[in-house]
Symmetry: C2
Subunit: 407 residues, 2 copies
């Protein structure tokens, strides 16, 4: 069997992650609270907390004394253990966000990049500049940095010809990147980052099988099964945005025809409007994010019928495509994230939910929750920083990563 | 966290399953062979084998003595431990197959059922009659039966109005079934059965992430991730046959429009031919299985251009739909199973492979193997019998089933 074998070391590692997740959710908690929340025994929690205290990952917060019984020490994540940086490399910008070791955001910096200028040295320059600027903004020293997580749109490498990670030769350029960064580094793709953010900070804490649907320029799905991110054979799982909605349908920027992204990506939504009402001013807004913002604002009643129809069609497309996820994966919950979801999610969700119920096979959507993600801010940066923190926890021997991150 | 916690008991259980899988593959093996094959230590293999010998699951086969060194005892599965029955409930028949406890097929019996007559008492009658007849054919006593596995097309319950397991009230009729069967029983759906068969007998032994695509009247996918069958929230994962190939496309018997099954199910393939050449005699063959057999035979050169075109279109549809599985799940391997796959697989696979490579995102299909499954015979019956054996191993305390079977 090629299956990775679990050891008692893995079990200890999982217990530590469970305690960390619970602590992150609670902010501050006693050992008793943590045992109640995680289902671990008091003895296991005591051992785990002792390991985490020794590693400087958690810290004792304060003692509370009630009128009855002995005082209780509460615990929290130790924000002073060091700094973690999450870097979101997108088509038109590189944004680096500095977090403390309790994953609270401290500062960030953005470097605009030209999407037509995508040689890897250029992209690596942008990453290094954003990283340095973010550390400066956070008044952080490079020596304080426990890890840097970099989200590269790797799944798109072949299509967009971004050559940061060239097909079949990823190590070359990642080594170059590692050399330029000069800090402990982990690279992964944005779908795995948003799934991680959802797992640590969002619905993933309550649902063991869950999908986070990202709606923006690109469209994709972060899939969490049994508490673990689905990566697939080439770390390529979740590219649902490039699965078919309609055979021989609209051309997609990936080269395929009829992809989900071509209908529910920001450009796809604008294309739907342009087909209904080519003369509508919103149909020609040049920037996608601006278009989505303006569309959301214009949907307040009384809305132009072309906009209402655009929204209805978009909900229909999105609902059909989510029904396919129900058919294939049958998750407990779906969250929507990304700037299109934040702007249009509340408008879309009721009609999406109806469509999913109509279209998903059998009972597979009967108990499905569909909600806008509660993880806000740059969830790619938060997620990739969390992956970097996981990697740091692995480096200091507190966590065994069974499913390795990409690089 | 809602995630099921692993214990050292689970680890022992996994070791036992690994040894059983290895033994099943080898037929006969020494403890040393098993250690080499599974990667377990000699000490662990010795303990596991001792447990399995004590439970009567394996037996010592013979001692081999070379000229050098001490004689070696080989082991094999103990076929005389008892009998396992796998029951495949399909639309038009119920087929029960009796296996010995080494999962070798002994005998089977089939009862024709009328697909228009689907009250649950009628279907339960068919199951009981097939079971009794199969035991008689195998000269097996009910007391010898360790377990009965029953594959019910549960995912289709709502659509076809088969009321064996009615929506939201499955326990009622399963209890009735259990009472009528009067033997240890497990119920699951056919996609989980074929995935189990692939996991124990086919490509699942070599690939930790793998999808078995079933092509027949119905179309579906048995998905294995990290050596575990993907079940999903309502045991509904794998209904890829009812995910979209084409929005607003061909009507599917499930009620949705444009499902994969409507294009690559046996009826869908015939519909493709009828659209190309309505007058072709094969377009009006009434029985689906007969149509597929005749099509395969007629594809030997020189084939009628309408048939070649039908095959090309079918490969295109199937390749696009498999590319969607690559996009979403990114498996290492895909096997095709079911009578359509056995008849047409070799004709289809080269063109399917090309289409998948063209259509799957990025590198996700670059290393993907696509093959006809090596599990032949009734893989639903074999798989559901294997699930019943797993359940029996659980009942005698040898295996902990982390992901429970449906009922």
């Amino acid at each position: 069997m090629a299956v990775t074998r679990r050891t008692s070391r893995d079990i200890r590692s999982e217990s530590r992650l469970d305690v960390l997740h619970a602590l992150l959710a609670a902010g501050e908690a006693s050992r008793g609270d943590l045992a109640a929340e995680t289902g671990l025994s008091n003895a296991t929690v005591a051992t785990v907390v002792s390991d985490l205290l020794e590693g400087g990952i958690v810290t004792e917060a304060r003692r509370t004394g009630g009128r009855i019984g002995r005082p209780t020490t509460t615990l929290r994540l130790n924000g002073n253990r060091g700094r973690i940086v999450g870097v979101d490399v997108a088509e038109t910008y590189v944004r680096a966000t500095v977090f403390d070791s309790a994953l609270d955001e401290l500062a960030s910096a953005e470097v605009a990049t030209d999407e037509h200028h995508d040689e890897y040295d250029y992209v690596i320059d942008g990453i290094v500049r954003a990283l340095d600027a973010s550390l400066e903004n956070a008044h952080a020293d490079r020596d304080d940095v426990l890890g840097v997580g970099i989200s590269l749109p790797g799944g798109m490498q072949r299509w967009t010809e971004v050559s940061v990670v060239v097909p079949n030769a990823p190590w070359l350029h990642v080594d170059r990147l590692r050399e330029r960064i000069g800090l402990p580094m982990v690279v992964d793709n944005p779908l795995k980052a948003i799934a991680t953010a959802e797992l640590w900070f969002g619905a993933g804490r309550r649902h063991k099988s869950m999908i986070t649907v990202n709606l923006g320029t690109g469209v994709g799905a972060g899939i969490v099964l049994e508490g673990t991110i689905l990566r697939g054979a080439q770390n390529g799982a979740g590219e649902w945005g490039h699965s078919l909605l309609a055979l021989d349908g609209r051309g997609c920027r990936c080269g395929r025809k009829g992809c989900v992204e071509a209908y529910v990506g920001a450009a796809g939504i604008q294309q739907t409007l342009a087909a209904i009402a080519p003369e509508h001013p919103l149909a020609s807004v040049p920037m996608q994010r601006e278009f989505i913002g303006a569309l959301a604002a214009a949907l307040e009643p009384p809305a132009h019928p072309a906009l209402t129809e655009t929204l209805e069609l978009t909900a229909r497309y999105l609902g059909s495509a989510i029904a396919d996820l129900c058919a294939i994966v049958n998750p407990e919950m779906i969250t929507l994230t990304g700037w299109t979801a934040w702007a249009l999610g509340d408008h879309l969700i009721p009609a999406v939910r109806r469509r999913v119920l109509e279209e998903a096979p059998g009972d597979s959507a009967a108990d499905l929750a569909i909600e806008v993600s509660t993880v806000r801010g740059n969830s790619v940066a938060t997620g990739i920083a969390t992956i970097a923190l996981e990697r740091f926890l692995g480096d200091v021997g507190l966590v065994t990563t069974r499913v390795p991150t990409a690089i």
